[in-house]
Assembly symmetry: C2
Homo-oligomer: 420 residues x 2
């Protein structure tokens, strides 16, 4: 059998290291040219497959592909586009397989989170049923760290490092001025349902009294009275109070503190602004001067402070996905298995997509202190290795050097339009 | 005459490199032990002098003082505390001189911005009139870069680098997802009256179409209709729009976009939240999906991405202040003189405090593009050298290593309380 082509797409929110995974996929595929003729990348993710708008990665130099290692964002474009259930929209799945067939695509590498694993799983099933079986690999990526089975997700370590470093730095600022200025500082971080990113803020503090003094997890219902009591106690004891709040923090009744009523393409609530909600609560009830920061996209694109462990793992899952595919494995995802905490050792294994798709891994209760506002030693043991090591990008004139790919299109073969 | 002591205090908002200046002052003073017996640092800035609460820096090891080079925040504590005019509150000035006299303090190094230069200037005058002339040196520090005479201010280069890097990174994130997700991203940065920090965001873009597409300066009155037209044009032309907005952006009538009605100790409006004002304006009028980040204290404490030029200059002004004092200069401030843009060369000179105190340097109109939304080549030539070079702190377990000083108190001699 002659070599087939591969299709690679980035999906959902991008990370500081998703391109390192792309690099792992492409470089490894290039090493197996007798099995994988070419890697086509979807322009704007899966939409590029549906609309037959693919990028020919063979037209990119080895140096350009290598430079993906230190370029944040999604180099080929990513999309928040969830394929509907097969029963509701069989046409989309059939279209995918049609495009794959037209371009001799025998391998599908889908680099994303929960929703994408579900899609990859379904494409695997339907392509078989349609008589053009495609080897489908999920490749993990999510700053939220909420995929099951894998010990952690590429993308998370770097946002965790960013949040831990930023919390430590801002806390030093606040501590030095609290006598006459800001007493309460609130840092809002991502994490819609799982509080992993907020938990990482906890790494900034080592000793009792160290910031952050309060972490607000989505996993722990927010009780205003208790929170305000804790803030006042911190200001009394330490002179100031640093709060790390997850965008997904919510009241007992499940309502997000920050719910503004808008919804994204996946139907999820579009959050933002919980920091101001919390800060104003402090001002109105305790009268303290406050400041708040909202890290938003800065945290997930901060390649300049990426975790070296994260960069290595991001590359490794891309590489492993290709190797698994060539071993004939399909409908699986490379997962990270922790071998030991200290020294931190890990390896890559594979897990069936069916075990991963549409499941979310929350921060376990035993990683959260009894009062619900901090991380335990067990939580610290889990998190600490993931932010280890610095992997600085090269700089030119004071700014990180990033690669701009040529993005030459693959010539369409079907010629029929498809509206997404 | 036997050696006198020196008093050093940090004032106002701290920076990522103010401790590098402290290091410059203390290390240089230590080299001149026959002239300066000891450096006492004010705990919480000038308040430490007023309350006779000073830190004995001689009790800190050479290694601890050196580690100030990479520790953000104010190591001795800073204060937002402005001495009133001499006529209104002569008692405070007299108290300062009393404390200086009691502790044989012949040198006063005041590390701050405009207000602090005014204080240092007044202390110089009143100490002479009181028959205990103190050599008073202002030492520049402000992320706002708004001090006159000096080409730039230590602290600014690092926040400029943080904002330029963050803008570049977030823009790559937004660009890669704009087809199906966020089309408008707003980054709020500091700069109450002067738009230097916002201007630095402009360094992220090199070519037409590069982000940031819009910078909102305090110097340019905000016109909603024109702004919205520009946002729509960007989304049409590039698929997305990145906006960097200064917290001090204001309407034609002078009202801040973000004025929440609260005031700080200096009587300045406490700002925050302009990003959400701008983002909601975009949503309400154009319907685009938006995200916004508020960098707040993260930007001015981000020692992890400090500019190497800034770190060097921060040390240099501290060192020069001591050298000027020993040359018998008083009521002056070390200023940075730019010798050439390219290659960037600079030197330290001295300027009388009277020329600096209470004056603000705005971004000149010729640094801002004609339409008011970007920086010109002249602006770029000025800004670019200031973010050059990386000066990474050491790391332990994935987090920057910072020094915690012993902060041993100087034994009070006056024994009389003073309420600030």
């Amino acid at each position: 059998m002659s070599a087939m082509n591969a299709f690679y797409a980035q999906s959902g929110g991008v990370t500081a290291v998703i391109n390192a995974t792309a690099c792992g996929v492409i470089e490894t595929a290039r090493k197996h040219g007798k099995d994988i003729a070419n890697v086509y990348a979807g322009r704007n993710g899966i939409i590029g497959a549906l609309t037959e708008d693919m990028i020919d990665t063979n037209r990119e130099s080895a140096a350009a592909i290598r430079a993906l290692m230190h370029t944040p964002g999604g180099a080929f474009g990513s999309a928040r586009y969830k394929l509907k259930g097969i029963e509701e929209n069989r046409a989309e799945y059939e279209r995918l397989v049609e495009v794959f067939k037209a371009h001799d695509i025998g391998y599908f590498f889908y680099n994303g989170g929960n929703d994408s694993m579900d899609t990859a799983h379904k494409v695997s099933q339907i392509s078989r049923r349609m008589g053009f079986p495609v080897t489908c690999l999920g490749v993990p990526k999510t700053v939220d760290n909420d995929l099951p089975v894998t010990d952690n997700c590429p993308g998370f370590g770097s946002v965790a490092k960013y949040v831990a470093v930023s919390t430590q730095e801002a806390a030093l600022d606040v501590a030095s001025m609290a006598t006459t200025s800001t007493k309460v500082f609130v840092l809002e971080v991502m994490g819609r349902h799982a509080g992993w990113i907020a938990a990482a803020g906890g790494l900034a503090g080592k000793e009792p009294g160290d910031a952050p003094h309060i972490i607000l997890f989505p996993e722990i219902p927010f009780v205003k009275r208790d929170f305000l009591r804790k803030v006042r106690q911190c200001v009394t004891d330490y002179g100031y109070c640093v709060v790390v709040v997850s965008e997904g923090a919510r009241f007992r009744n499940g309502k997000f503190l920050a719910d503004q009523g808008t919804r994204d393409a996946f139907g999820h609530a579009q959050l933002g602004g919980v920091a101001s909600v919390v800060a104003q609560m402090v001002r109105d009830n305790l009268g303290y001067k406050y400041h708040y920061a909202i890290a938003d996209y800065l945290q997930r694109s901060a390649r300049h402070i990426a975790s070296a462990v994260d960069v290595r793992q991001a590359y490794a899952v891309g590489k492993a996905a290709v190797e698994f595919a060539l071993q004939g494995k399909s409908a699986v995802m490379p997962v990270i298995k922790r071998v030991s905490d200290s020294p931190y050792r890990w390896k890559i294994a594979s897990a069936p997509l069916g075990r991963i798709a549409n499941k979310e891994k929350m921060v376990p209760r035993r990683y959260i202190t009894k009062d619900g506002y901090g991380i335990t030693n067990a939580g610290r043991r889990y998190l600490a290795p993931l932010i280890r090591g610095e992997d600085y990008p090269p700089y030119v004139n004071g700014l990180p050097k990033v690669v701009k790919l040529r993005k030459r299109p693959v010539k369409p073969k079907l010629g029929t339009g498809f509206v997404v």
